[in-house]
């Protein structure tokens, strides 16, 4: 813990600290560029404490003096070596330095006189060693789902080749791992995945061809040089969410961090350096509010990142008022703004997904022209569970055939007129595979309305000689809209997004407002007593209410923020940690609960598990009561366990009837004569069959049909017919080794059905077939011992 609240500027004894230009202004020779305000977040008391970040890479050197103090074994493992130690493999070229470099950016220990300082220098840091070996779908899935209840943030600075010709993304297991992570990680708040957007700038690569950065579940981070210029390696695309500093030209400063063999480097570069920097900043925001969901984190980034001095010619303001670019997303991340936003953040409403299937008419894409397809979207307004009114991510799922994929460029224009480039021409992409159900993603319409005309444009610009006889075809496309049905920002969060003006140290060395000097207007929330600065934290007295931050700053507000209650005089006090609103500070004085907790209305407490007789109502965040007679349930009408003397009939509790009877809603009635026990009237209602009958596919029959065998092992001694293994025609028991006859073309061999031609003819060139067998038979070849082993077995069976 470092008490930075009163420090004029931060000082650490780590030798590289003065040179860490992306965290503070090192000299007074020129004004600071718009910075990431890391120190601002520190000064508010946030240093990443209790937040766990893990680096998915080639391992981390856990014994490094700058990492060992914050090293977290529970956030670490070795997927390549199948053990728990993420130490990198050492070789002469120090090939495996990458993970250690990324880790130091996030959580190198401060003030230990060794070398460098991490952005979240009190966060816990782990590493998953997974890049130093064969990477498979399973290796990736294991890595992104490693200990998701312990790890909060996963940082990845790798991906498919950025060679300008690859189109690749997560395979099924990894996709599932991402989905599970955001759904169940961090006890339901969702794992946060941070990804480097790619280094393929020189190869004119486009990060939308990388399914990892393009995913809605990852926060894709781009880079800018100190000057705000576009680095040579930067890839543009519409899925980039935000930007942090990294290297630029050879004369630009690079990133300082920990290095292999307990050393340090001032030479870390590329988007690899940017993703961990973002992970560190997100760790600060999560410390400020650990209840931010994975989507809250993205919302906070969208609202606080700034175009600042970042140089791009495509900056535009979307209809929701957010400035956005294909190079930098919503701009440079701002740590101080993020922690301030996080502190007062109210969880955004539930995510809705609306899939708008456009027409499937195949359209030909002519060279040097464009195909335009317009779709009028309703945002699924007729379906309350899918209705999207306010947009977050927008995905275009598209299938295109084309003789040269690199000649394609794709644009999407939202109903509000925001145009995103989903794909740019790629010089080196000669693939003839086109795109098959590839998902392009854009965040450029964030906050806009979903309903209205969406325009997809596909351009074909032939870059070199190719086969013009086969034109490309837009086979189908669909629009997947993610967002909310209601306005995502609560009134306390609502403020216009403005470019924050930063004083340079040259202009204002204290970086503070002097009380005596200030003569400007006060914040509207200040009372007539006055203020010593323009903000709500500069009031001498508050008009309505105030609450205190961790660093003792007093903020005036018009009403108490979420998680606070009006205590006495004008003071807002904090509710218990699990309460969203309350009437007192104790855990049994809650009025509503934070995400992941449910209000037990009898005790006014927020619990993770509702008591017997109630269920977790996820929509309302309350413990709902089960229906009468029900002991446990998953919904009012979905009983899973009944009170004594009653039995579960479907999802309701009814009186227990004797064997051979069923409850019809009023009284017990006899079952059908074939049934021993039943759940309803008629032969279809049988659960078990009476003597002389056996159960087959839900019906009682006298004997098993073909392809079924009699199973004696059923519960209660009742017999049933079970389906034979797919390989058998008839069988005597389960599995493929109990066949008694085989389908046409297969041979029975010791209970197993095998392909008819199990041996080859004498030349071993082809399978034994009818003609060949006739020849064998005609010449009595099977009587010759020497030939019996070759073909006779097959031929005998085939007659």
């Amino acid at each position: 813990d470092y008490d930075l609240s009163h420090a004029q500027s931060t000082y650490f004894n780590d030798p590289k600290w003065p040179s860490m230009w992306y965290m503070h202004c090192s000299d007074n020779t020129h004004p600071c560029q718009s910075d990431m305000n890391i120190e601002g977040a520190w000064k508010r008391g946030y240093t990443g404490k209790n937040i766990v970040v893990t680096i998915l890479d080639d391992g981390i050197e856990r014994t490094h003096p700058d990492l060992m103090q914050n090293y977290d074994a529970l956030a670490s493992c070795d997927v390549n070596g199948n053990d728990l130690d993420p130490m990198p493999r050492y070789d002469a070229s120090n090939e495996n330095k990458h993970g250690t470099r990324c880790a130091g950016e996030v959580a190198a220990t401060a003030n230990n006189s060794h070398c460098t300082v991490g952005i979240a220098f009190n966060a816990k840091i782990g590493g998953v060693r997974m890049l130093d070996g064969d990477v498979t779908d399973m290796v990736e899935a294991k890595s992104v789902s490693y200990n998701p209840q312990h790890v909060h943030i996963y940082s990845a600075s790798w991906g498919p080749d950025d060679d300008g010709k690859t189109v690749d993304g997560p395979a099924p297991l990894t996709r599932q791992a991402f989905e599970n992570g955001v759904r169940m990680g961090r006890r339901g708040l969702g794992s946060v995945f941070v990804w480097a957007s790619g280094n393929g700038g020189r190869s004119k690569d486009h990060c939308s061809c990388d399914g990892y950065t393009n995913s809605i579940y990852t926060i894709s981070i781009s880079s800018t040089a100190e000057s705000g210029k576009k680095p040579w390696y930067l890839e543009e695309c519409s899925s980039t969410l935000a930007t942090t500093y990294s290297s630029g030209e050879s004369y630009d400063k690079k990133i300082i961090t920990t290095d292999l063999r307990q050393r340090c480097t001032d030479n870390h570069t590329g988007t690899s350096a940017s993703a961990p920097m973002a992970a560190g900043i997100i760790a600060l925001a999560l410390e400020a509010n650990p209840f931010l969901t994975w989507r809250d984190v993205q919302h906070v980034i969208v609202r606080t990142s700034r175009a600042g001095h970042l140089n791009a010619n495509d900056w535009k303001t979307n209809a929701a008022g957010f400035k956005v670019s294909h190079l930098y997303g919503f701009g440079l991340m701002d740590a101080e703004a993020m922690v301030m936003e996080a502190e007062k953040w109210t969880t955004v409403p539930q995510q809705h997904v609306c899939v708008e299937s456009t027409d499937r008419q195949i359209k030909t894409i002519r060279p040097n022209s464009a195909v335009r397809s317009i779709y009028k979207a309703s945002g699924c307004s007729d379906n309350p569970n899918h209705h999207v009114n306010y947009l977050e991510h927008v995905v275009v799922r598209i299938t295109i055939t084309h003789p040269r994929r690199g000649d394609l460029a794709i644009y999407l224009t939202s109903p509000s007129g925001t145009r995103s480039q989903l794909l740019a021409n790629r010089l080196f992409d000669h693939s003839m595979e086109g795109f098959k159900n590839w998902e392009f993603m854009t965040i450029h319409c964030w906050g806009e309305r979903a309903a209205g005309d969406w325009v997809l444009e596909v351009y074909d610009t032939p870059s070199q000689l190719r086969n013009f006889k086969t034109p490309g075809k837009l086979k189908e496309w669909s629009l997947v809209l993610y967002g909310t049905s209601v306005q995502p920002y609560s009134p306390t969060n609502e403020f216009p997004k403005v470019e924050r003006f930063r004083y340079s140290r040259v202009e204002d060395p204290t970086d503070d407002y002097g009380a005596e000097d200030y003569a400007g207007p006060c914040d509207p929330e200040c009372s007539e007593v006055g203020c010593d600065g323009p903000g709500p934290d500069h009031c001498s007295d508050c008009l309505h209410y105030y609450y205190k931050l961790k660093n003792n700053t007093r903020i005036c507000v018009s009403s108490c923020p979420p998680g606070h209650f009006h205590a006495d005089k004008k003071r807002c006090r904090k509710c218990a940690p699990n309460c969203e609103s309350c009437f007192g500070s104790h855990g049994d004085q809650c009025l509503s609960c934070k995400y992941g907790y449910f209000l037990n209305e009898e005790t006014s407490s927020c619990v993770t598990q509702c008591p017997d007789g109630s269920y977790e109502d996820i929509k309302k965040n309350v413990c709902g009561k089960c229906s009468e007679n029900c002991k446990a349930c998953t919904g009012f009408h979905n009983c899973t366990e009944c009170k004594g003397g009653l039995s579960l009939q479907g999802s309701r509790c009814s009186i227990t009837c004797e064997d051979g009877q069923f409850f019809n809603g009023h009284d017990c009635q006899p079952c059908h004569r074939f049934c021993a026990t039943c759940a309803g009237a008629g032969a279809d209602g049988c659960i078990n069959c009476t003597e002389g009958y056996v159960m087959e596919e839900g019906r009682c029959v006298q004997s098993c049909s073909v392809s079924y065998y009699l199973d004696h092992s059923s519960e209660g001694g009742y017999k049933s017919c079970k389906r034979c293994d797919n390989s058998c025609l008839t069988c005597n028991g389960p599995g493929f080794k109990n066949c008694s006859s085989c389908p046409s073309g297969y041979l029975l061999d010791l209970g197993t059905c095998q392909m008819g031609a199990i041996c080859r003819d004498a030349t071993e060139e082809s399978w034994a077939e009818g003609g060949f067998c006739a020849l064998v038979k005609k010449n009595n070849l099977c009587q010759r011992k020497v030939l019996q082993q070759l073909c006779c077995k097959t031929c005998t069976f085939q007659g």
Partner: protein, 87 residues
């Protein structure tokens, strides 16, 4: 166009309902070693076969392939090497 060859490994991802013991039983029946659950993915297991080729351009065939016919095996995928680059 460059012809990219797939490289198959002797590792499999398998989805089996019924818990770890059931996965173990099926693994040993077909000569696999059950390395354990895949990360936090419930019912997904990492199977390893020491007697098949470590790296091959052809997917593996043999008696172990019959594992896919097991009723409790819901999904199986032989793992393919993916090219990944540090950034």
């Amino acid at each position: 166009p460059v012809c990219r060859t797939r490289v198959y490994t002797n590792h499999w991802a398998v989805k089996i309902a019924g818990g770890f013991a059931e996965a173990d039983r099926i693994a040993s029946k077909y000569g696999f070693i059950n390395v354990g659950q895949i990360g936090a993915l419930k019912d997904y297991y990492h199977f390893y076969h020491s007697r098949t080729i470590k790296r091959s351009v052809l997917s593996s065939r043999g008696t172990h392939s019959f594992i896919s016919m097991e009723p409790k095996v819901e999904w199986i995928q032989q793992q393919v090497v993916k090219k990944r680059t540090k950034r």
